[in-house]
């Protein structure tokens, strides 16, 4: 993908890209073809989408509707068991259930990898959940894992088509830990 970005910078004009995007946007479910390139603006919008997820899910703002608005109309969140919550009403209800307070910070998302696909983009991130300011409990790390995302470009901008959380599971214990 790094090579692709270089090519993008060298040879591809944005008007051509816009055309490619609109073609792909109108043909959902088409067989996987050659991945389209992402512009710098696409890349930034997808990063902004992922960063906003944390605020939306932690605060449950606007009755969960800010969270729901980050997904495509038919977008879905899949929990650690793979159970899907699909559609904006159900997603808003999920955010209302999961909020930790209007001034809470719990989902810390890092290591965001983004790759173009034939009809949009996919990505993944690490999540670590920090429990801060929850009553008398000492602040601590609740858990973590990683997300696997599918993004789609809608007329309103990039949105989640699907996001799944996968909890961390340990690898085989090594004889000597050397790499960091």
């Amino acid at each position: 993908m790094i090579v692709r970005y270089t090519r993008l910078a060298l040879i591809v004009g944005v008007s051509v890209l816009t055309l490619v995007w609109s073609v792909h946007a109108q043909t959902p479910g088409k067989p996987a073809g050659k991945p389209a390139a992402l512009t710098a603006a696409d890349y930034i919008e997808i990063r902004q989408l992922v960063a906003r997820y944390a605020y939306a899910v932690d605060t449950g703002a606007e009755n969960g509707n800010v969270y729901a608005s980050l997904f495509a109309d038919d977008g879905a969140f899949a929990d650690r068991m793979g159970r899907e919550t699909k559609g904006r009403d159900a997603l808003a209800a999920l955010a209302r259930r999961n909020t930790r307070g209007p001034q809470s910070a719990f989902h810390f998302i890092v290591n965001h990898v983004i790759e173009p696909t034939s009809d949009g983009a996919v990505g993944k991130e690490y999540l670590v959940q920090l429990r801060i300011g929850e009553g008398e409990r000492p602040n601590d790390i609740f858990g973590g894992g990683h997300y696997e995302d599918i993004y789609v470009k809608t007329p309103d901008g990039w949105r989640f088509k699907r996001r799944q959380f996968i909890p961390s599971e340990g690898g085989p214990k090594p004889q000597a830990e050397v790499a960091r």
Partner: protein
Amino acid sequence: MLTPLDYFEIEQLAYRYGYALDTGADNGFAYADLYADDATFTGTNQGPSGRTYQGRERLAALARGGKRGPNFMSHWVTNVVIEPAPGGAIGKAYVGIFDIGNGGNGAKSRVDHGGIYNDVYVKTAKGWRFKSRSFFESTSGAPVQPPPAMLAAPRALSASSGSPSANRESRISNPGRLTAEDYIEIQQLVARYPYALDQNADQGLSYANLFTTDAVFRQPRTEGRQNLATMASRAPHGPRYTRHFLANHVIEATPEGATGKQYLVAVDIGEMGQPSSIYLGGHYDDVYAKTPEGWRFKTRTFIASVTGTEAK
């Protein structure tokens, strides 16, 4: 209107904040100089109605006032959201404030506290700076102060902001600076590192290929892709394993390429409801080289966090 470079440069400001505060470099003035003239920092958690610091001297004194040291890692910043606003931009960031014991030498490490920064950014002759930054401590209960307003879902950037010609212009007007494409490639290089190490699906091959053929990793000093692949394969890994959490990725152009640094918190995530613990904390110091394959690590050095002195 913000260009792609504006987004990257504002992100860089948010990431530099951690290093400036945790090191207290230049007697605190490295921190103070992240702010515009007459800019303010407000700790809404300080006292019943919060406390505001204004001006270069007071901000520098603030940076001298906390725990600090040349290799101390504490303010771990992520989830940076940015939005154009009249006069510049506004944004938010999450901060986890860690107390990392002496580099994993048996000392206890913990989450000290953390929360949300609410920012106003302004573009000065020297680049993007904070016009104001306010810290809101995370709480599960009712906020003491009105919480920062939410930012809505990101809007589509204008098509012209992604055009290569815009980037060419910025390259011409800013010689020796990184383009948006350089930021993207180097961010992606670093973002791939934890997956290659923790999940390591291919005997360390993907890990080794993040480095130039003559790269050096420390510690332990490891040279060459074969040795790097072997080192990665000896580390704990698995298809769903997550351990290396990287934040505060600062990138700087150099005449030869670029350098960078990140904060690392390595977490042993508790499984099945078991408690999690911090395995290690510190920072990476990197040199990147642009190769025909794209940007790669030329050197990558891990430096464990060492708690510094606490000012009186």
